[in-house]
Symmetry: C2
Subunit: 353 residues, 2 copies
């Protein structure tokens, strides 16, 4: 298909960027398995981005994507807001024996322009983004060096705006998706649109290729997305449980064992709406004051990191889409093969009906 | 397919019950077009049910379904609750020049057992239900006379329970669906599961056939649902805009012209969570006290009826799924033909990829 040729990938599958869980080895393994690997680079510095890209390139000669948030100018939180949030988070710092961050350090964010510059300088094959659209000058700069641009839409208006901005393809993120909601026009609640409704409406609204993202876990989901008009699919949760995934075994187990109605949309980890498996941290802090996204991420990051590494799954974000229960624990290349085999089986079954 | 043969329908399509909008003529027209017509009978008396079934039978010799809610025993609202709700609804009674109902009349609900008895006595081909499961004695009585039973699940647990209760098929209602949420295990918010994730998980969980419902509007949606493992699809919104639909022209226009992110889940009309297009009534009354479902329905019913009939769409429920924008204004038989033609086109396109 057009998009597959454009992205130069063997299969019409993209490994979703999963900042905090993905890493260069994992992304390169995805690329080497014939899909487009993506690195979520929003929480790392420009220097770390440059290094990560070099690492990916050292491990694969296949194309890959770097993903960033594209947020509007942020409202810096006040000292009072920071204090309020830190006061109820104190017990977690104590539990994990970590020093509380200073208000100053919380206010300091990585410069998004410097991150963009790092990605631009690296001349990556694909640059994807969510939560908005980079300024025109960046779009032009990326296009000049033939980096393919992929934007994220959670509703039809966003798809229109992305097409007008000149992106090469659109990821239609439906409500089934795990992790952060990419909504940038209107409140996220209005754009919790299921894939069966979202994908065909975005396909009809734009002329550029559409990538379906959200709840796709196996050949059934892939064929469904293609039937709805998508040219490729983006899978996050399905890749989280593979052998090469840096996710802790306890997290992988939670993904496979939870029920579809056990995920929820929560802001407690980052200040931004994201889908994850309900756990003690979400339930305990659901009504607590939050810093605006993504400042709150900085407040909870240090103890979540330890919780992630040690499998203390009640204290960290367990991002998962609504199809998580269908995840398999295979080697990455086996998962990709199995996805394509299942796709063929589903297509044959449909053809024989 | 198995289910299609079981239901004795030409096409694997069910016209969803839409109490308040459907009627015997509309249901019979659906049946005569080769799909399973369904009448939503929850708000009509046993005598009206008997009459409606006779009318359907006078207009078609094809099978049809009667649908009821299957609620747990209801908490009768207190006089104070009724007064509170009536006080802010007074302006609507005044606007539509209607007498306010007495507290006593609000408390009086149609006896659900008498409704079940009317459906049973009529020996209908298919009895479908949502929001729970009828008592064992009813299930047995329907099974004894070979009425096919179709229950509604919005999560995997509900599907398990329905299968154990002995239903013949399960409608998997995904979050895209318009109208009332059928959730009966856990809060409805937890079971807002998109079809791409819900359908395959329910298909995997049960041995009986699954019907996909929610956001399916055209051949793309039908093929997607079949790919996900459903044996048939249930369409509501797609049938609302056909020529034979009793829906007012202004409502049909609203369905076709709204954006996918213009629907919302609201309780303001009936006390129960349901998806409809946002309008003035929802925005104005979003935070007002409600009687428990379905008592609140009785409070707003009389003026909604007039608003419906006169196309005053800001004062009534505009139930619509998230795919409403894809609705077409065709004759019912033309819609069904077009759905099947589109289905073939999508299947051919997939086969050639």
């Amino acid at each position: 298909m057009f998009l597959q040729n454009l992205l130069k990938i063997q299969y019409p599958i993209i490994q979703a960027p999963m900042a905090g869980t993905d890493n260069p080895q994992f992304v390169a393994a995805a690329c080497n398995a014939g899909v487009l690997g993506s690195l979520g680079a929003q929480y790392i510095t420009p220097e770390e981005i440059t290094k990560a890209i070099a690492e990916i390139r050292g491990l694969t000669d296949k194309p890959f994507a770097i993903n960033l948030f594209s947020l509007p100018p942020l409202m810096v939180p006040t000292e009072k807001q920071i204090e309020e949030a830190l006061s109820y988070l104190q017990k977690y710092y104590e539990k994990f024996e970590l020093a509380m961050p200073s208000a100053e350090s919380v206010k300091t964010m990585i410069d998004p322009e410097a991150q963009l510059e790092a990605v631009l300088q690296a001349r990556v094959p694909v640059f994807s983004f969510t939560l908005g659209i980079p300024d025109k000058k960046w779009i032009q700069a990326f296009k000049q060096q033939s980096t393919l641009l992929v934007g994220t839409a959670t509703n039809v208006k966003e798809a229109h705006v992305l097409e007008l901005a000149g992106v090469d393809a659109i990821t239609a993120q439906s409500s089934e998706a795990g992790g952060h909601r990419g909504t940038f026009i209107g409140p996220f609640e209005d754009s919790m649109i299921g894939g069966l409704a979202l994908i065909p409406q975005i396909v009809d609204a734009v002329k550029i290729p559409v990538i379906a993202a959200g709840g796709i876990m196996d050949g059934r989901g892939i064929v469904a997305a293609l039937a709805l008009g998508a040219q490729a699919v983006q899978l996050g949760t399905a890749f989280l449980t593979v052998a090469e995934s840096p996710a802790h075994a306890a997290y992988k187990k939670a993904i496979q064992e939870h029920d579809a109605n056990d995920t929820t949309i929560t802001k407690v980890f980052s200040g931004g709406a994201a889908r994850g498996i309900k756990n003690k941290f979400i339930v305990t802090n659901n009504d607590k004051p939050l810093l605006p996204f993504p400042y709150h991420h900085s407040l909870t990051r240090s103890f979540r990191k330890i919780a992630n590494e040690t499998g203390q799954i009640e204290y960290t974000n367990l991002w998962s889409g609504q199809g998580g229960h269908l995840a398999k624990e295979l080697k990455l290349s086996e998962l990709v093969k199995s996805l394509m085999t299942e796709t063929k089986i589903v297509l044959n079954k449909l053809a024989s009906q």
